[in-house]
């Protein structure tokens, strides 16, 4: 446990009428620094929030933006929902895999990128679209993967 987490926990708890509600903001804040949530981190968060490990693990596994394995510096989610699929998300994913030399679900050897698929991200107007870290980016034509990778995306 990092020393500052104690304070983050009390700050998060103070923001909500029910302390339990602070769980996800705290998880996000910790993940932002740590990059992912290890078993130890989950245990620490459970202790900080006074809930069971089981509870924290259920929450972490439910949401696709919490990572239970180490990820690269940038996490690319490719939307594979219906609109994006019709607009060519398959090909986009394929091109990204070829360009990064990894398969979906993997992280590049240099730790720069992690490539994941996402169920519908509710931005069909941007189809085919991706989410880089926490930002929506699209539409991206399948052949424009280099543009995507070079794009400056505010975190």
């Amino acid at each position: 446990m990092k020393p500052e987490w104690q304070e983050w926990a009390s700050q998060a708890k103070a923001e909500f009428p029910q302390a339990n509600s602070a769980l996800m903001p705290l998880m996000h804040r910790i993940q932002l620094v740590e990059g992912w949530l290890s078993d130890e981190t989950i245990q620490d968060i459970a202790d900080l929030m006074g809930v069971t490990v089981q509870y924290v693990e259920s929450v972490a596994s439910f949401y696709s933006l919490f990572h239970r394995e180490p990820v690269g510096k940038r996490v690319i989610h490719v939307c594979v929902g219906l609109s994006c699929a019709l607009a060519g998300s398959d090909e986009l994913m394929h091109n990204l895999e070829k360009r990064l030399h990894i398969k979906e679900g993997q992280t590049t050897a240099d730790g720069a990128y992690t490539l994941l698929e996402a169920e519908c991200l509710a931005a069909c107007d941007k189809a085919p679209m991706t989410q880089i870290d926490l930002r929506f980016v699209g539409p991206i034509r399948p052949e424009d993967v280099d543009t995507l990778l070079n794009k400056e995306v505010p975190s």
């Binding site: 069971t52 089981q54 259920s58 596994s61």
Partner: protein
Amino acid sequence: MIQLTIDGQEITVPAGTMIVDAAAKLGIDIPIYCYHQALGPLGACRMCLVEVEKMPKLATACTTAVSEGMVVRSKGPAVDKGRRGVLEFLLINHPLDCPVCDKGGECYLQDYTFEYGPGNGRFQEPKIQKLKDGPINEFVLVDQERCVLCQRCVRFMGEYVGEGQLLLEGRGVETVVTTVDHVPATSQFTGNVIDLCPVGALLSAPYHHKGRPWNIEREESVCPHCPVGCTSKVTAREGRVIRMEGRPIPDREWGWLCDRGRFGYDFGYHPDRLLTSWVQGVETSAAMATRQVGQWIQETINQDGGSAVGVIMGGTHTTEEAYQVQRFAREVIGTENLAISRSEAGYLPRALNGTFDDIKKADMVLLLGSDPYDAVPVVHLKLRERWLRYSALKVIGIGPTRLTRDTLPGQDVITAPEQSAAVMALALATQRPEDANVKTLLQALGDFSPSGVSPETLTELGVQLLGAEHLVSLWDGMDPAMGMVLAVLAELREKPTPILPTFGPANWRGWERAGFSAHFEDLTRILEHARDGIIKTLLVFGADLMNEYPDRALVQAAFDRLDHVVVEGVQPPEDSPQVDALLPGATWAEVYGTYINMEARLQVAMASVQPPGQARPVKTYVNTWAHILSHPLAWEEDWEPFDEDSGELLPLHPAPLHVTPLKVPAAIDGDMILITGALIWEMSEPSEILLPRIPALPGRINPEDAKNLGLDIHGGRMRVSQGETSLVTGMSLDPRVPKGLLWLPQRMPGVNTLQPGPIVLSLAKEEVTA
């Protein structure tokens, strides 16, 4: 009370009742997966849809509470359509592998699909594949493809047991039941999720692919391993016990079992089981051995009279068997030297004995030296359920270690070893100094003041002891003085003061009912008389005295001196060359009989299988011996342990109160002091299935002591020395044990070679294996 109509029938139920329970009272079955009365409503599975008049849509019967004048229809086209739809969804990713599923034939998904489900689904896409037969732990397997996500298992472990070791991981169709961090679940109660699982997702590992409902026979039984006597069902196939399940009894038992009881059913098939007879180290026929023993008894009676024979009862014998032995001993041999193999010196008169129903009414629970999680696990669950329903429940542990737990919180009064009784008496004296009984108790204590317990604590404890409305005590039976203090307490309080004895053997109350003395002094006297040559022949039924009696040296001396030691049982006693005859006995599940549990409740266990090899019931032995002794016993009528007046509980006999002054507890000097306690894993007959869960590090010491002694933080092996004797055993670090103490399970082999008191602890040198 609320009146409503279900399917045209009127019923009146208390407010807050769910429709599903009201319907059950009318005998109307509403299909459910997620709902369980012990866990409360959830509404996750949507299977229990019913039509409620004036409600726009179908309602879930398990989450809708009854209201006045409600009209419910549990059948009809709308309900059928709703349930059909739910089942079609539940089956989208189900593998439909019923032909190879252990639950096939006893599965609610099968039953309800047959009753309400669609003939086939419209979903054409490939099914999602998940983990099959993955481990929850050594005993429980999970098939995630068959799971309907009802969450019974997750909620049972998390909410009811309080050990959140199972969880739902993932989202949507990808959701699976798994263990936290994917490490095996270690709770004492994991096996219950097999009974709770309404489908084929959670399976018993030892029963995996062992039988189907049409291959097996089920008999109602009682778990024989500890004094709780949990109601259970035994599954047998082709003359072999292959499973044990819980047996719920409406309004009394949920049917929970602990893992030790549920999976320890294989002791009858242990490779060491005694299947043939042995006389003086030579294997022989059953007839020869029985005749030889009969002659020894005859010789002893001829030379020294019947009272030179001692009879000791133990093991998993039923009340009826004890009665048969008792009649043989009294009528044929003519001896009064009858005792029960006990490990603790205390005794509880029937008059003070409470029932599990008392737990449901308790406002305060005293744990007197007894940690129910370790000693009588299912009682721990009962206490926890009371605490969940009545959060003001006060739990107070009194003993040398912490006895409350995270799952059963309360306060602890940590006393020095062997001072608990004095602490209780002094606490009473703070409130009732003038009471004659209290005065007698304190008479000899002088100015004794208990170490580590302040006068304020004593006063507070005294106030609570007398103030509680319904005070339930769980007592480990270690110190007879505590029994006396409890009797005084019960007399002093004019409110219910039920006591539950957590000590064994499991059926000691039954053997007492049959005519055996349950007093430890009587057992000790028989052993001393044997050592002194007054008793010449000892007949031991089921008991392993060498490990059960707390002072092994006395048993050893008695066995050395006795002319004849005859042991009937399931397991040959370890390393006992003094045993002259070993007779294989029939055991639990092989004989019909009654067990009487720690509530003094009589419960019948049916026979499921035949005894193997030469193993035979006790009655066969005593009948043969009675013939040899020319005094055949007539058994015209079966003796019944039941009593006309008492029903399921043993009749109450008033116990006169004899109060004697408490002795000043002897000061125990030493840097490390040994104390012992009950641990369910180390009790009763050994099982092969349980081996992977028997604690490798059963000893417990304080982490600070461990650090000072150089013990690894994850525990390790240590040598416990006391004078000439020593024992090497695994130790774990436990902050519940105070500094300066070592806790060992009292029934672990070898522990009774040491006596509670000062010991020396050192790291065990790693043994070099060639």
